[in-house]
Every structure is written in structure tokens, then in C-alpha cells.
């Protein structure tokens, strides 16, 4: 029987977080969080409510990432650290939760060497994975949040983990971070989305988080075959268009979005080449018509399913 973070009471969670740390699984990683702050525990319990608790005594677990959120300046500020090294040393209470989420992004972006990591949203349908490599502001998280509520499985809204040996992508399902008008857009289209509070005043403006669906978390150990690479571009007022991109150009653009391509070197090149070999690559423009965007991606998946069925 797999225990979830929500199976712990608030009291149990606070006690663990103060002492040995609260440990939960995110994809292939275990995260350990230490914090004496009740609002941090409350925020984490909401965002990771469906997260798997690994079996065993917390103190005996070997975590991949050790994150702490500790009070500073007589409690007026917080310092967020990875493995004891401060990454955000002067955080106000009002932006602690979104900053903690960015810290967990950094854990994977900067400290992960077992996979080729690419800044991308990743979703899956019928075993086929769609990667959306892009910078912030491209609309990839909005698309991700929309698609995960329309039959696609969330792998991640921030990072693609590409296996260096096999041509598979590994899920890292966490809350999807939305900014500014995307918050209202998703709330309007998907009233059933489990969304946390809006955090104003962050460096990215207003931010809110949509909790990763429980099915996505439950299947987080199941990788998928990469099938499409789509470079999204949001342009207000633009109609939806999906335009093929050559594999060579797609490979260059995807490498540009990698966090550790230059560190890994040749193994990364070979893994990326395998990834590109197996994918159709496109550029996708849209101006906010989420329904048409969803239909576009559904048509991709449907075409793939039709081809598979005919064989």
C-alpha cells in the first residue's frame, strides 16, 4: 500500500519537517525538506498531497536532494538552501512557497547528471511523449496544464529527463507553475483544477500552482517513448499553427534548452540524436485559444494511434 503525503497529519508533517525532514518521491528522485516553519509545511502538504512517501524510517532514507527553509533576520526572512548551500538567502514569507518550487527546479537542473536534462514541458498519451522545449513565457506551462486536464499524463512542466542509455523520457511530476493571466485562463477552462493560492510580488509576477493530478503521480515510475518535439510560442491574438521543423534544426534548438549538454558531452549528443531520430518536430504558435491548441495536439496523438492500429 503506497502512502501519500496527505496520509500524514499536519502535526506529523511538522514534526518530521522539524527533525529528520519530510521525504517524498518526485519521479526518480527523493527530496528531503527540513523546515520549522508551519506555513512551509502547509504549502508543501498542499502542493505534494498526492506524492508518494517512500517506505522506511525517514532518518534512514537516502535522499537525492536536501532542501532546507530556515528563518533568518529574527524570523522576518527565510533562507532556502540546497545541501546546506543557500540559493535564496533572503526570502520574504509571501514568496516562500513559489521560491521553494524554483529551488526544487534547481535541484534537478543543476545537480542531475544521470540524465540529459532539457528545459521543457513534457506530457504523454498512449505511451507517446510530447516535449515542449522553451524558455519561460512561451506558454509551455499553460499548454501543459491544459493538456493534463484533457487526457494527457503530466510528466513535468519544467524539465525533460532523457535517459542516456535508452531512448525514453522519465516523469518528474510536480505542481505546474502558472503566471499572471494564465492563472485565470486555466481556472476558467478547468474549474476542477486543484490550484493553490495566488502569490503576488514574485520576480515573475503573480504565480499560482496547479497540483499534479494523482494519476500522473501514481504512474511516475513509468517512462515513455519520445514521439514529438514541439517548440511553443505564445503570441497574443495569433491563430493556432503547427509547422514542421527540420530534425537538424530541432536538435540544435533542443540542445540550446539543455541544462547539462555541455557538461555531459558526447553521451548527451548521442542521447539527443536518438531522441531526435524518433520524433517529428514542429513549431507551434498560438494566441490563447486553448481549445484549438488542445485539438491540435489531440490530432497528433490520434494520427499516431491510427498509424499504430493499421499495423
Amino acid at each position: 500500500m503506497i502512502r501519500q503525503l496527505r496520509d500524514l497529519s499536519e502535526f506529523e508533517s511538522r514534526a518530521l519537517c522539524r527533525r529528520d525532514g519530510l521525504v517524498w518521491r518526485v519521479g526518480p528522485f527523493l527530496v528531503r525538506l527540513i523546515s520549522p516553519l508551519p506555513d512551509v509545511v502547509h504549502g508543501v502538504r498542499f502542493l505534494y498531497q498526492f506524492a508518494e512517501l517512500p517506505p522506511g524510517q525517514t532518518r534512514d532514507l537516502i535522499a537525492d536532494f536536501h532542501v532546507s527553509v530556515l528563518p533568518t533576520c529574527a524570523g522576518l526572512r527565510r533562507s532556502i538552501a540546497i545541501d546546506g548551500h543557500p540559493v535564496y538567502p533572503n526570502v520574504t514569507r509571501s514568496v516562500t512557497i513559489p521560491t521553494l518550487e524554483w529551488t526544487l527546479n534547481l535541484c534537478v537542473f543543476q545537480h542531475c547528471r544521470e540524465y540529459l536534462t532539457i528545459h521543457a514541458a513534457v506530457i504523454e498519451r498512449d505511451g507517446q511523449v510530447l516535449l515542449l522545449p522553451a524558455l519561460s513565457g512561451s506558454g509551455k506551462s499553460t499548454l501543459c496544464a491544459a493538456l493534463m486536464h484533457r487526457g494527457w499524463r503530466l510528466f513535468s512542466d519544467e524539465v525533460a529527463l532523457i535517459d542516456l542509455q535508452d531512448n525514453v523520457v522519465h516523469p518528474v511530476p510536480r505542481a505546474v507553475s502558472l503566471k499572471e493571466s494564465s492563472i485565470e485562463l486555466i481556472r476558467h477552462h478547468f474549474p476542477s483544477a486543484v490550484m493553490g493560492p495566488v502569490w503576488p510580488g514574485t520576480t515573475k509576477g503573480r504565480v499560482a500552482h496547479v497540483v499534479a493530478p494523482p494519476d500522473s503521480v501514481r504512474q511516475q515510475a513509468i517512462p515513455g517513448r519520445p514521439r514529438w518535439i514541439v517548440f511553443p510560442a505564445f503570441q497574443r491574438g495569433s491563430s493556432v499553427s503547427l509547422t514542421p521543423v527540420s530534425k537538424a534544426k530541432a536538435m540544435m534548438r533542443t540542445a540550446d534548452e539543455s541544462f547539462n549538454f555541455s557538461v555531459l558531452g558526447k553521451p548527451a549528443f548521442l542521447a539527443l540524436a536518438r531522441l531526435i531520430d524518433g520524433c517529428d518536430c514542429f513549431e507551434f504558435r498560438y494566441g490563447g485559444d486553448l481549445d484549438e491548441a488542445i485539438r491540435t495536439f489531440d490530432r497528433l496523438a490520434h494520427a499516431e494511434a491510427s498509424v499504430a492500429a493499421s499495423h
Partner: protein, 90 residues
Amino acid sequence: MQTAENRTCIRSFGQETVVFHEGSGDLHLLNDVATAVLSKLRDPSPPAATLAADVAESLGYESDPEFEQQVARLVRDFDRLGLIQTIEHT
């Protein structure tokens, strides 16, 4: 000259090629002409004088002085980027 086989990884996608240089960690995107030039340089010691003509023939292009200059520029660029190396004849 020949390609720096021990320092480069090459993946071709149709008429375009992506080259990875292990020393610099850089990726390079080659169009059809650059791909053809690099491919010819992988053959043992193609004579420089006929390289442009060989490349043009493989692509179905006409080889003229402008094309020969383009090929010569590509060879210099490949050398500068470390993608090819001079063969020492002993």
C-alpha cells in the same frame, strides 16, 4: 585535410548535419553544401583541386568560381572550428 574523427561526432538528417566537437563542446549545423564538403573530407585525402567539383556533382550543382570559393571558405571554417585536421604526409 580530413575530418577530426577522434574529436567530432556527426549526425546527418537528410541534407543537414549536426556536428559535435568534443573539445569545445560546440554544436554546428551544416547545410547541404557544408554537409557534402565535410563528407568528401572524410574520404582519404581528396585532392583540393577537385573537392569543389566533387561536391557540386554530388549535389547536382554547377561548379563555378563562386562555388569553389564557397567550398574553400567552408574548408577554412572547418579548420578554424577544429572539425578537420591537416594530414601529415611522410
